[in-house]
């Protein structure tokens, strides 16, 4: 009875609609698989919703370049305390470029050097110069100075020698020779110090090496040589802050020579 009634009620339009809505097997198969993928994605998303904040928090400190830029902006605004804090976080981060990583170590070391915290400065500056690909040549000066300040001249020596190998510009090489001499000087190896400064003077007459030689020879009583190097310093005009001391050497030497002739 029921079946008969149902058969009567079906009209052609309804039949066409059901035909249109009839799902092909390909669609069913695809849809089912899409559903599986969707469920998997939603499960992963759900867990990410739960664990994500903690993961993201961990990643916050993990991006070297961005932290570096942030610290640079702070440094530019002379907010060195915050800059140091951010640089320190950056040192523990991953960098896209090795140069940026060593640059962060260099800036951090430099800021500590400026604050006269030489122990920390040396620690960071060592990292800055030790990269094989991109050592920060500018960091050598502050590193050696920091090591000398904390009386670690033995440790400073290989860095000074490495600096000489890496230096490309004339000024840089002259500076490296000066520091090498200074390291030898603090180690009481005066002959080697003199040799290094002589090389420095040869590379750039009138540089810090020349000034050191003037003082060295004055101390040794060799006024002729002292005046020679002191005059080289004055002539080059590279060391304005040392000029008065250099002039003093010349004056004293001249007096000594005059007294000798008298």
């Amino acid at each position: 009875m029921d079946i008969k009634q149902n058969a009567k009620t079906i009209n052609p339009n309804e039949y066409r609609l059901t035909n249109i809505l009839q799902l092909p097997p390909l669609f069913k198969q695809t849809f089912l698989m899409a559903l599986v993928i969707l469920v998997a994605v939603l499960i992963v998303s759900g867990f990410y919703l739960r664990f994500g904040p903690n993961i993201v928090k961990r990643l916050d400190n993990n991006v070297g370049e961005n932290l570096m830029k942030f610290a640079q902006a702070l440094e530019q605004n002379k907010n060195t305390e915050d800059a140091k804090r951010i640089y320190e976080i950056a040192t523990r981060s991953r960098f896209a470029g090795e140069f940026n990583r060593t640059h962060v170590f260099y800036r951090l070391g430099y800021l500590y050097w400026e604050d006269r915290d030489y122990v920390k400065a040396a620690e960071y500056l060592k990292e800055a110069v030790q990269s094989k690909e991109f050592p920060q040549i500018s960091a050598f000066e502050f590193l050696i100075d920091s090591l000398l300040q904390i009386q670690k001249s033995d440790e400073a020596l290989p860095f000074a020698q490495k600096w000489i190998e890496k230096a490309r510009k004339r000024e840089e090489l002259a500076n490296a020779q000066y520091y090498l001499g200074k390291v030898y000087g603090t180690m009481n190896r005066m002959a080697e110090a003199e040799e290094a400064w002589l090389k420095g003077h040869k590379v750039l007459p009138g540089s810090k090496s020349s000034s050191e030689l003037a003082f060295l020879y004055k101390k040794q009583g060799d006024c002729k040589k002292a005046v020679y190097y002191a005059e080289a310093v004055l002539k080059a005009g590279l060391l304005s802050s040392r000029e008065s001391a250099i002039k003093k050497i010349i004056e004293q030497c001249k007096k000594t020579q005059e007294s000798k002739t008298n």
Binding site: F47, Y48, I55, N61, A73, F95, S240
Partner: protein, 1000 residues
């Protein structure tokens, strides 16, 4: 009954086969396949436009809309002229329909409906592209034909990419030094986008090469020479295209594309060797299991990472980090609106409240934000909710399964390779989509839908044929005609916006070159373009923002604010927009105060608006330093321009210091103006230690700023000149001495400060003067240094001391001309000539934007010496000299001294000069609020020239200040008659008098 049915079926089949034959041989279908589709591929892949900000997307979408319209027109012709009933594959139609349905529903409920509609229209075009391609392409040969053109188009684009690599690129890119350009954006405008599109070409290339190698061998065996030659040619073409696209893909350095390619190649090998023997459902089941296992692994990895394992920093770089942060926001968005999402393309506007701390910092540092999730499945769900995501997966799977079906159905190796290639492409696309937005980029999205259509060509599926296909084809054609017009309009809007931007750029250039008229013209044009662009693409916040910024450049702050509000209507969480809106309010108030112009609303209301904007910005990105800078400036303006009690002012000043420090902590760039505000705040609070710190900070940033040094001296005076003051000065003096010539004015200012401090400490003028003389020896050619030296000498001895110094520097050749001219006996000095030279030098220096303090150091002493020497002397040019001295003093803002010069200057006999003197005199008196005196001078001047507009205008202003309103109104009415109604003078006076007109 059974026989009748069979007959009926046979008749049906015959009719169907006739229809198929007619359809296959249709000339319009062939035009579509052999001409239009290749043309579409070539133009979409290669098109770039220099006339829009984004050189790729707008033009490419416009081209897609044109081609989809052409396809719809061809189908219309086929239905109406050839009587062909187009057949659509049911699975494909349902899947695309489902995707479009949820995108449409999401569009209805989107916050930025305009943007959602424009995005939805793109989806509509792309989905129909898939349908048309599926209908028009009928066999494997045609499929390979289309795929061949995909290879050719992408290979040509890669060739262009290599020209970029070699530095030969005729396209006028905005910049070529960015990392993105070095990744060879080619005609895709971005290396990422290139990577997405190249994946299609590389995998197709592999499939093509395998097929053609097989066919070459076959023709060799069959000894079919003609076929062999043709196949070799095809092979050579495919190899070349493959090598080009593969190298390009390699050079883009896109990791996700590499991963996707590796997986696709693995699948390709697996499927062709082993998988094709398996049932598709088995492959899907294995895939499903692998997927679930991967999901479990990911979940475990999440848990471990969240618990702090592995310890130490994670090996994640910037781009991965940004993605992981972005995903978190996207997942939260899906959780908040799981059903219909936020509407197509609305992620970029609605994502800001979900920013993580890292995203905020990224925005702060790089002023960048994600416009896409960088994970297409998640973006599909943020756009159209979870159902939208379901159909998104469905579309990819349909392509994947379609490819595998082709392998199953075909016996020929070539067809099997084609199927495997298509399946591999969809797999690669899905992998690539996990880390990018390849379905939202014109070329890769077009390729996706094209391949989707092709993947279903060979699938045995139920087809949909409508009885009303004629009507349907007309509707579809009309819809795509409308969409094409809409895309053209949008493209036109983009072009207008670019013109407006160009106008701003040129206005900036002309401003630097001091070409005011040109600047004004260019800005007016730019405004015109921006307004037109806004009328087209009103829903895109970039458009009103550009218009607002141009209005700001023109100092038209009210319309600028209106445009900012329009932009914020659509991008209501954007912290940068809110901050710029606040800056607009602040600039408006500042400008009005500076020019003494009335405002249409109270200063308090505008400043409150600024504060509200900044508070909103702070809500969304508390790490953005400009917000705090703006807040400090708002509070400072409140303290300056509002009537407040001392207690309220104090509170504001404390607030300024608080916000200022936050701005600096967060890394504010260009902080000099903020530091000036902070100095004022510290001074108000009498916190001189804090003030000194701020000044030192400002000096560290701008050591050559003389005004800062002089401010430093003032602060130190308040601190009673602490012991570290002199060493600090000396340290800096030594530092600047190394660069004496360029730092000359600063060095002289420092020398003066050191001199004063030494004098204070030792009282030994000779010793103190040493530094001054040393500075002069360093810079004998610098006039500001001479000014400094002379400033330390008593008034009556200035000239004689100068002459002595010149004598002592006789060997120096570069003594300034003005000094040389003063090195004569008093009676022989040509004071008039000197005064003229000073005026001309002053004018030149002003043009060169020489700092004010430097100008004072350079010239004020010369005016003083001239004044003192000539005031008692009588000469024929005395009046003229005093006119010049008054001008010098006025230019140097020494108004009292200028007032002292006017009595002598007014004795000048020349009528015009006398008028000028009286006007300047009156103006100076007006500026010093000596209004009655100013009125007298103006009346005197008007006796000489009663009709002078400037004099009358100033008289009206003076009368208003004196509250002589009836006289002012009378004067105004008479002036109004002699000037055109649109004159700016009339407008200004009208606003000045408006309060009195209203009360009457």
């Amino acid at each position: 009954m059974g026989r009748k049915n069979r007959e009926k079926n046979i008749r049906k089949e015959v009719v169907a086969s006739v229809t198929v034959n007619t359809f296959e041989s249709s000339i319009f279908r062939k035009i579509a396949v052999y001409l239009i589709i290749p043309l579409c591929l070539l133009t979409v892949v290669l098109a770039l436009s220099p006339f829009t900000g984004d050189p790729a997307a707008p033009i490419k979408y416009l081209i897609i809309s044109i081609f989809v319209f052409i396809f719809s027109a061809l189908s219309l012709i086929m239905v109406w002229l050839e009587g062909i009933n187009l057949k659509f594959k049911k699975s494909l139609t349902f899947m695309l329909g489902g995707f479009l349905l949820f995108m449409f529903l999401a569009t209805i409920f989107a916050r930025n409906k305009g943007f959602a509609i424009s995005e939805f229209s793109i989806w509509l075009m792309l989905c129909f592209l898939a349908l048309f391609v599926n209908v028009f392409v009928v066999n494997v040969k045609e499929t390979w034909w289309v795929l061949g053109w995909v290879m050719v188009a992408t290979a040509l684009s890669s060739v262009y990419g290599f020209f970029q690599q070699w530095g030969i690129d005729p396209f006028p890119w905005a910049t070529r030094s960015v990392e993105e350009y070095r990744g060879l954006p080619s005609s895709y405008a971005n290396p990422n986008f290139a990577g997405h599109a190249l994946l299609f070409a590389v995998i197709t290339g592999i499939g093509g090469i395998v097929t053609l190698v097989y066919e070459t061998r076959k023709s060799l065996i069959e000894e079919n020479r003609k076929n062999f030659k043709l196949t070799i040619l095809k092979l050579a073409l495919f190899v070349i295209c493959f090598l080009l696209t593969f190298t390009h893909l390699y050079l883009t350095r896109m990791r996700s594309a590499r991963i996707a390619l590796s997986i696709a190649i693995l699948f390709f090998i697996f499927y062709i060797l082993l998988g094709k023997k398996w049932e598709i459902r088995w492959i899907l089941s294995v895939g499903g299991i692998l997927l679930i296992l991967a999901a479990i692994q990911i979940v475990i990895l999440f848990a471990l990472l969240a618990k702090g394992y592995p310890q130490g920093s994670l090996p994640v770089d910037n781009s991965v980090n940004l993605r992981l942060n972005g995903y978190l926001g996207a997942v939260q968005m899906i959780k908040d609106k799981p059903l219909l999402g936020y509407g197509p393309g609305n992620y970029r506007f609605d994502n800001i409240p979900y920013w993580t701390n890292y995203e905020k910092v990224w925005f702060t540092l790089a002023k960048k934000r994600n416009f896409h999730v960088h994970c297409d499945p998640l973006e599909a769900m943020t756009d159209a909710g979870i159902p939208g995501g379901l159909f998104y997966f469905g579309m990819i799977l349909l392509g994947f399964i379609g490819g595998m079906y082709l392998v199953k159905q075909s016996k020929s190796f070539s067809e099997q390779i084609l199927g495997t290639s298509i399946a591999s492409i969809f797999l690669a696309f899905a992998m690539d989509a996990c880390f990018g937005f390849n379905m939202r980029v014109p070329v890769s999205s077009m390729l996706f839908f094209l391949y989707l259509g092709l993947s279903q060509v060979h699938v045995d599926d139920i087809t949909l044929t409508g009885k009303k296909s004629k009507l349907l084809s007309v509707i579809v054609c009309i819809v795509f005609l409308i969409l094409m017009i809409q895309q053209s309009r949008l493209h036109c809007g983009e072009m207008l916006l670019q013109k407006a931007r160009g106008g701003s750029y040129w206005a900036q250039m002309f401003a630097n070159q001091q070409k005011e008229n040109l600047r004004e013209q260019v800005l007016s044009k730019a405004i015109e373009h921006a307004e037109k662009a806004n009328s087209i693409k009103y829903f895109e916040p970039r458009f009103p923002e550009v218009a607002a910024r141009i209005y700001m450049t023109r100092n038209e702050f009210q319309p600028a604010l209106e445009y900012f509000d329009r932009a914020l209507k659509y991008d209501s969480y954007n912290p940068e927009l809110w901050t710029t809106r606040a800056q607009c309010c602040l600039n408006w108030v500042y400008r009005a105060q500076l020019e003494k112009k009335p405002l249409p609303m109270s200063v308090e209301t505008i400043l409150d608006e600024a504060e509200k904007s900044l508070t909103t910005a702070m809500k969304y990105c508390e790490t953005y330093p400009d917000i705090y800078e703006g807040m400090a400036r708002t509070l400072f303006f409140k303290s300056q321009y509002l009537k407040l009690t001392n207690e309220q002012k104090r509170e504001l000043m404390e607030g300024i210091i608080d916000y200022g420090n936050k701005a600096l902590e967060n890394g504010l760039k260009e902080s000099q103006s903020l530091l000036q505000i902070l100095i004022q705040a510290h001074l108000y609070l009498k916190d001189y230690d804090g003030c000194a710190e701020v000044v030192e900070r400002a000096l560290a940033m701008e050591p050559s700023n003389i005004e800062l040094w002089s401010r430093y001296a003032q602060v130190m005076k308040q601190k009673n000149y602490p012991d570290n003051y002199l060493p600090f000065l000396e340290k800096n003096y030594i530092k600047f001495k190394r660069d004496a010539e360029t730092m000359a004015p600063t060095l002289s200012q420092l020398a003066l400060m050191i001199y004063q401090e030494r004098l204070r400490k030792t009282n030994d003028i000779k010793k103190a003067s040493e530094i001054i003389l040393e500075t002069l020896k360093l810079n004998p050619g610098d006039l500001s240094t001479w000014g400094t030296v002379i400033q330390t000498v008593p008034r009556e001895k200035k000239l004689s001391q100068l002459q002595e110094l010149v004598k002592s520097l006789k060997d120096t050749s570069d003594i300034p001309n003005l000094i040389k001219k003063l090195n004569y006996p008093v009676e022989k000095i040509n004071w008039l000539d000197i005064s003229r030279e000073v005026i001309s030098e002053l004018e030149q220096s002003e043009k060169q934007k020489v700092p004010y303090k430097t100008l004072v150091l350079r010239y004020v002493w010369i005016a003083e010496v001239a004044f003192d020497t000539n005031i008692k002397m009588e000469s024929e040019y005395k009046a003229e000299l005093f006119v010049n001295l008054a001008t010098i003093y006025q230019k140097l803002r020494f108004y009292d001294r200028a007032l002292a010069c006017y009595p002598e200057a007014s004795k000048v006999t020349d009528r015009n000069t006398q008028l000028r003197v009286l006007y300047s005199w009156a103006e100076t008196l007006y500026n010093r609020r000596q209004y009655s005196e100013a009125e007298k001078k103006l009346q005197q001047a008007l006796e000489i020239e009663p009709g002078n507009i400037r004099l009358r205008s100033l008289l009206i202003q003076t009368l208003v200040q004196l509250k002589k309103i009836p006289e002012a109104k009378l004067e105004y009415q008479s002036l109004k008659q002699s000037l055109p109604s649109n004159s700016s003078t009339i407008k200004e006076l009208e606003t000045l008098l408006s309060p009195y007109t209203k009360t009457n």
